[in-house]
Assembly symmetry: C2
Homo-oligomer: 191 residues x 2
């Protein structure tokens, strides 16, 4: 099982999925983009959905790396949280196969995406909670329940993703809106 070939396929699939979405992308498309025969894909993946999941997982890893970098670059907890939200939203719209995956039945697709995302929810909560805890230590935030607050913020953010999935709105508009909400969180949290 060459990790090289597998990665190659994942990256090729990422490009094609992003262009055409999940439904319209055929295994032939992926194979052609990866420079392999169609049946070779089945040596590395069980089916189309598994390829898609691998792509999403790969992009999620990239996203995490990017977020970590931005977080490290910020000094205050407030800025860390802000960077986190901004990057996450931007990514979700731009490079997101998650977003372009919608084609036919919206609810079915959304459930499909949600299932994949759920694996990362815990991770995200942990990350946000970490930032909040740091903010509490630094006296930037009130001593709230970090996990509970993190859950709330994340849920709120997911709420903002839904209109991004349905209507192809501008990122800016949504970022502006969500920043307002984040501000609300801050003014309720900050000492």
């Amino acid at each position: 099982m060459s990790a090289n070939s597998k990665q190659q396929i994942i990256e090729a699939a990422g490009i094609v999925f992003e262009r055409y979405g999940f439904k319209k992308t055929t295994m032939d498309d992926i194979a052609y983009a990866a420079g392999k025969g169609k049946s070779s894909l089945y040596y590395y993946f069980k089916n189309k959905e598994e390829v898609f999941e691998a792509v999403v997982a790969h992009e999620a890893r990239q996203l995490v790396a990017e977020i970590n970098k931005a977080i490290d670059a910020s000094n205050s907890a407030v800025n860390k949280l802000r960077s986190y939200v901004n990057i996450r939203m931007k990514r979700f719209v731009q490079r997101g196969n998650l977003a372009t995956a919608l084609n036919d039945n919206f609810l079915a697709t959304f459930a499909f995406i949600e299932k994949i995302q759920n694996n990362y929810r815990d991770f995200e909560v942990e990350m946000i909670a970490g930032i909040i805890n740091e903010g509490i230590e630094k006296r930037e935030f009130k001593p709230v329940d970090a996990n509970f607050t993190a859950e709330a913020i994340l849920t709120c953010m997911i709420g903002f993703e839904v209109p991004l999935l349905t209507k192809t709105k501008t990122t800016e508009e949504s970022v502006k809106k969500i920043n307002n909400v984040i501000d609300m969180f801050f003014y309720g949290i900050c000492t």
Copy 2:
């Protein structure tokens, strides 16, 4: 035959074609986007290709209007020619169903597109020739054969479209390149 419904379909089809290209777009996609039943499309169009042709024709008309506007706004013949080239290239990449129509067999698609475009070639030659003639009258250009020169410029421009069709390059890069060539034309033409 409601011109309204037909136009509605054409515009919806334009959006879908632009997103997915000719091959990946189904009649269902178009119908859904236009808010009609699939079979209703066949009341207005013979088949998928005819819908596509109507879309391209529609966009061509828009392009012509845009070009005419820009040409009228320019004073010198040199600037008119430059505006013309810039708009044409930009359009070709951005809103061009012509460009996104490529999916599988490149040559077949190209032939398909070429066939449609040929109807407009004469028109374009005439337009360029008009600009050149004006330039000659105003002593901006040498008294060259306007039609022949127009043919040359157009052919040259089509040559620049090919890499735009194959590789998804930036517009800027191509515009820069073609502007260089246009400059070459100028320095060979200008008095």
